[in-house]
């Protein structure tokens, strides 16, 4: 019976450790930063020890965020008494003692450990002396040292997933000088060296979950050492490492105290309020901390310009940009408003014509108001100087960016002032919309008109002209020249940014003009009071103004602010008559706008078909949103007739629109065909599995480890879980694998008998415990049984359950978390339409929410059943894959055991677009 315990140890903490952990500290929640206070502040270690603990904090800003640093509790000082705790938190932190003989190299010894057991490694302590060391110094120079050098400390960690194994060493030489740096070559032991190294599991490694430590460190550094930094930039990987190293070595002793104080102070203060406080007291320092990074790169992946590199600032922890590209932009979710990764929030915008992507990264808790503004402005300016042949824009763009950044910030500042003036806190979108109106300095009505027109995405500039003021026109013209640029974040506050930006800039010049502020205040008040009617209007126009509607869906800034809108409305309810008035006016204005659009349309027609013909032949036609709209609508309808969930079709179309807008139409191509090809590509991309769906290989791998491969089938009632389980069993049997069934549907009468019948027909063993048993326990016993009789695969049948049934979902979550299967297969029927989205989201969500362990298992794959019954309505496959990101692993398409297929992606795409 040692099977289960060994199993348990590998998979997670033992119950005892678990209990200890819960007693010592509650398990960290999934989304929140893990509690630093694994070290309670009043610990008694002496000052130097604290200092050591404080140090690595700065390293948290490095690209490799070593798990070692993320929890100072595992610092080398107190390994023994804290071990159980450490084990609990780190998925089995195991200490190893390495003895390295004189004359041997130290580093390969340490890395070999990682190669042996494939776990992450952190070096806890090393003592001894070395005879030769090659170090990368803070100045960027690599130099070689000879002679007996005593190791003061050697630390760092090796994380395979992050490709920066950063080990650093501080050495004392014979003349008692201290050398420190990153190990860049052989480190050869002079005396026997003893190294204590800890290895820990990959799943215990949480990058970037610690709160940000202190805002102004990197800035101090760049201010003092800006010149050296630029020279190091030639080696991007080491640059960031050396940056910190330098900081360390050049630091006066006083800084140590600062570190300690900060370190103790930090756990006490709420991380969300910390940066804001700094913001109040010292703006100039915080400036680049508010916006972590602004990055410009090509769709091909080459970084053209980065604010961090150009203007100084700390490198990001982890790689949020790669995460953004991989899990958002490449998944056809680019029409979303923002993306969060760890503690960062990211916003982006495209210039499709030039193939550029602009991404802004900032701390999620900051809710920066000016990011959209800034992105649009940066895009506008950068597009002008962009040249495909050029790869470095440091000299040209640095100053422009500084300027734009300052302007954007000034604008937010002003918005805040406005807020104070009105004595309330207008929401971000409202404030944004007010801005253009207020700035033109025209009368209230005209201003409102302007702000409303800004709300409309495509024809912001055309509607601005009737404003009549010269400023407005100027802006309209300016906008026109860049109308082809697209702001993808339109969802959150529409497209007015583009317009707002210029008007704002102009306005700043006229800041001092009298009587202005009252005007602004009045406008803001009116707009605020208008908030509710606006929402009503939008509800009616789901088809085209969905962006602003969806704003409320996002948990990011928009969410709480959305709530505030409602608050505002309550406050100003006294003016309801006014509101109604506004409803009317805004309604009519919208109509006017539409009229205007039509007028523009007819005007274009008047220009005659000849010019449009000429345009299409010349192929210089820039695609605009209004051009794409009809084709996309047709496409969306087509997708929906193929049974794609409405929500998904809508999102896909938005994403395709975002990727096409601003592109030049080739000669002799029609918009509809362009859209069609873009959609085809998008669909192909979505349906292509992200991970391997080769189950047989995984089974063989599990077999080599001597464990059965466990597959759990989950799904709603009556989709065919048991039937398809039997088909999968048959398929596995054909490949000479021994299969065992586990009847964990202990709920529906007849379920066990059904499975038993299948087992008899297939001549395979079945593990059953009758009804009314806890399915989680039955599954566990089944797996033990399979381990004992050396079965290769265990197929676990579960009871069907509706996604809203919480007790049953909790039971399922327990089953999955207790047994940690190799594959959680969601069985869904191809007949399902809009409900597919609901089913999968809820299943995934419930599995995550109801799990008791921090790393919850989600759905890994999809089995699509009843595929033979749906003819060409194959949309469910797309809906399910899009919503869950999991690949379709099998397709059930008939009544016999052999009717199990793989999904043919190409034919599905073809059918969907037929």
């Amino acid at each position: 019976m040692d099977g289960p315990t060994a199993y348990h140890n590998l998979r997670g903490p033992s119950p005892i450790v678990w209990a200890m952990r819960t007693r010592l500290a509650p398990p960290p929640p999934l989304t929140d930063p893990p509690p630093l206070p694994a070290v309670p502040p009043p610990l008694p270690p002496p000052q130097p020890e604290r200092r050591r603990r404080g140090r690595p904090r700065k390293c948290d800003r490095l690209p490799p965020p070593p798990g070692f640093f993320s929890s100072p509790a595992q610092a080398p000082t107190l390994p023994a008494p804290r071990l159980p705790h450490g084990q609990g938190q780190f998925g089995g932190l195991q200490p190893h003692v390495l003895q390295i003989d004189a004359g041997e190299e130290i580093i390969p010894k340490i890395t070999s450990l990682w190669k042996i057991n494939g776990r992450f490694i952190c070096v806890l302590s090393v003592h001894g002396a070395v005879q030769e060391a090659t170090l990368l110094l803070s100045s960027g120079v690599t130099s070689n040292y000879k002679g007996p050098l005593e190791i003061i400390r050697l630390f760092g960690s090796i994380l395979t997933s992050n490709d920066h194994g950063c080990l650093r060493v501080t050495l004392a030489s014979a003349d008692s000088s201290v050398i420190g740096g990153i190990i860049a070559g052989p480190l050869i032991a002079a005396t026997p060296v003893q190294a204590i190294v800890a290895s820990f599991d990959g799943d215990a490694y949480w990058p970037n979950k610690t709160p940000k430590i202190i805002a102004h460190y990197p800035n101090q550094f760049t201010v003092s050492n800006g010149s050296t930094r630029s020279s190091e930039c030639t080696n991007p990987v080491y640059a960031s490492c050396t940056a910190v190293e330098q900081n360390e070595s050049s630091e006066p002793p006083a800084a140590v105290v600062v570190v300690v104080i900060v370190f103790f102070f930090f756990p006490l203060s709420s991380p969300t309020r910390h940066p804001r406080r700094i913001h109040r007291s010292d703006r100039s320092k915080v400036r680049f901390d508010m916006l972590e990074e602004l990055l410009i790169f090509t769709r091909g992946g080459l970084i053209l310009w980065s604010s961090c590199r150009a203007l100084g600032g700390a490198a990001l922890r982890g790689s949020p940009i790669d995460a953004l590209i991989r899990s958002c932009l490449l998944e056809e979710r680019s029409a979303d408003a923002s993306f969060s990764q760890d503690t960062y929030a990211l916003k982006w915008t495209f210039n499709n014509d030039l193939g550029l992507v602009f991404v802004a990264v900032y701390q999620r808790m900051l809710h920066l108001l000016y990011v959209d503004d800034l992105l649009a402005a940066v895009r506008k300016e950068f597009s002008q100087i962009y040249d495909p042949k050029r790869t470095s824009y440091d000299d040209a763009f640095n100053e422009i960016f500084r300027q734009l950044h300052l302007e954007a910030e000034a604008r937010t500042e002003e918005m805040k002032k406005n807020k104070q003036l009105t004595g309330s806190r207008p929401t971000k979108p409202v404030a944004n919309k007010t801005a253009p109106g207020a700035r033109t300095g025209s009368q209230g009505a005209a201003a409102r008109k302007n702000s409303d027109s800004g709300k409309d995405d495509s024809d912001g500039d055309s509607a601005k002209e009737p404003n009549g003021t010269s400023k407005g026109q100027q802006n309209g013209l300016k906008d026109n020249s860049h109308a082809r640029d697209v702001v993808v974040n339109g969802k959150e506050n529409g497209d007015p940014n583009d317009g707002a930006f210029d008007v704002n800039k102009l306005n700043k010049l006229r800041k001092n003009k009298a009587g202005k502020k009252n005007d602004v205040a009045a406008n803001v008040a009116k707009n605020v009071s208008k908030a509710e009617p606006k929402k009503n209007v939008k509800k009616n126009r789901v088809w085209d103004d969905a962006p602003s509607n969806k704003k409320l869906d996002f948990t990011d800034p928009a969410d709480e602010r959305g709530d505030e809108v409602i608050d505002q409305v309550v406050v100003t309810q006294g003016e309801s008559m006014m509101d109604k008035d506004d409803v009317m006016s805004s309604d009519s204005e919208e109509e006017e706008e539409e009229d205007g659009e039509e007028n523009a349309g007819t005007a274009q027609k008047k220009k005659g078909w000849f010019s449009s013909m000429f345009k299409s032949i010349a192929g210089n036609n820039v695609l605009e949103k209004s051009d794409l709209q009809p084709a996309l609508r047709a496409l969306k309808d087509r997708l929906m007739t193929k049974n794609v969930a409405e929500e998904i079709a809508e999102k896909l179309c938005e994403s395709v629109a975002a990727s096409l807008e601003g592109k030049k139409l080739g000669s002799f191509t029609r918009i509809s065909s362009t859209v069609q090809t873009a959609m085809e590509e998008a669909l192909l991309r979505i349906l292509t599995p992200r991970r391997s769906i080769d189950i047989l290989r995984d089974v063989h791998a599990a077999k080599e480890r001597g464990k059965p491969y466990v597959v759990v089938f989950v799904g709603v009632n009556g989709v065919g879980k048991s039937t398809n389980l039997a088909k999968v069993a048959y398929w596995l049997l054909q490949h000479n694998l021994s299969v065992m069934l586990a009847a964990c549907d202990t709920f529906r009468s007849g379920a066990v008998e059904q499975l038993r019948t299948h087992a008899r027909r297939l001549q395979i063993p079945i593990f059953e415990k009758g009804y009314e048993k806890d399915p989680a326990v039955v599954a566990k016993e089944a797996i033990q049984e399979a381990t004992r009789n050396k079965s290769d695969v265990v197929l676990v049948d579960t009871a069907g359950r509706m996604q809203d049934n919480e007790p049953l979902m909790r039971a399922l979550s327990k089953l999955i978390n207790l047994n940690s299967p190799d594959l959680v297969l969601f069985v869904g029927e191809a007949l399902v339409g809009n409900d597919a989205v609901d089913q999968l989201t809820k299943f995934n969500q419930k599995l995550a929410d109801l799990s008791t362990v921090p790393t919850a298992r989600l759905i890994d794959g999809i089995l699509l059943t009843k595929f033979d019954t749906i003819d060409d309505k194959v949309g469910a496959a797309l809906s399910m894959v899009y919503i869950s990101g999991a690949p379709v692993m099998f397709v059930g398409c008939g009544q016999s055991y052999t009717d199990l297929k793989k999904l043919n992606v190409k034919s599905i795409v073809k059918t969907l677009l037929k």
Binding site: T111, W114, R299, G300, G301, I325, L330, T391, H735
Partner: protein, 256 residues
């Protein structure tokens, strides 16, 4: 039938008479023009069907393909890269050969994004390939080994690759790092993994996997020498500019 023949003879006679009436210079000129056109067409088609000059950079995301691409083109990795969303392609003379005198044939290099979702893009570029550079992350090899092997297996079993015997260079990137694996180790592990894959892939029944080609000799452990096309392994580091292995490979198959 006879009637047609007579008719034809009449026409031939007409034509002959007409030709005799023309001045001979004109006829010679006409013949010359036709001959030159045909020759040109033949020459162009010959050139086109001659050796393709496309080198495809493939491999998993994060392996360093884009860096390699810019190293080959500009001899610098610029300011670093992020995950590619579209392919980079350009025709250029290798950076290391810029100083060389004489006319050098430029190479067309395509850097195909490695993200799994973009795998279908590879199929579009493979038919024109003169060589494939498969970039492997030697540092992060163990954790990505299976995916790497699978991708490599897909490439090696592509019908176009096998039929045209497109050579493949497995380039172990990032060997400047201390923790990087050696190319021998990587080669051995990949062979082992492909061997496993061969079993499980051949077993897939009723799947719609097309153009599947059997790899290696059945009943024998797989190694790269069994491939019909040439598979070589080399190492280097894109970031530090140590890409001579790739340049050598390119020049071997795209003659300067």
């Amino acid at each position: 039938m006879d009637e047609w023949v007579r008719q034809a003879e009449v026409w031939v006679g007409h034509a002959e008479r007409w030709i005799r009436q023309q001045p001979p210079e004109q006829i010679y000129a006409a013949v010359a023009v036709i001959a030159v056109t045909i020759l040109l067409l033949v020459a162009v088609s010959c050139l086109k069907s001659s050796k393709p000059n496309t080198i495809v950079l493939s491999g998993l995301s994060g392996g360093g393909k884009t860096i390699l691409f810019y190293q080959l083109r500009d001899g610098s990795s610029h300011q670093g890269t992020v995950t590619s969303m579209e392919q980079n392609n350009d025709t250029f003379v290798l950076h290391s050969e810029l100083e060389r005198k004489g006319k050098i044939k430029p190479v067309h290099v395509v850097d195909v994004p490695g993200h799994a979702r973009l795998k279908p893009k590879l199929d579009e570029t493979l038919p024109q390939a003169a060589g494939i550079v498969f970039v492997v992350d030697a540092q992060d090899f163990l954790s990505t080994m299976q995916a790497v092997a699978e991708y490599l297996y897909d490439i090696l079993t592509k019908a176009t690759v096998v039929k045209k015997k497109i050579p493949v260079l497995i380039f172990c990137n990032k060997t400047d790092k201390v923790t990087a694996h050696s190319k021998e180790f990587i080669k051995k592990q990949l062979e082992k993994e492909i061997n496993k894959l061969r079993e499980s892939r051949n077993a897939i029944s009723s799947a719609d996997i097309t153009d599947e080609v059997k790899l290696g000799n059945p009943g024998e452990a797989f190694n790269f020498s069994q491939c019909q096309n040439e598979v070589t392994v080399a190492e280097g580091a894109g970031l530090t500019g140590n890409v001579s292995a790739v340049e050598q490979f390119i020049r071997e198959y795209v003659k300067a």
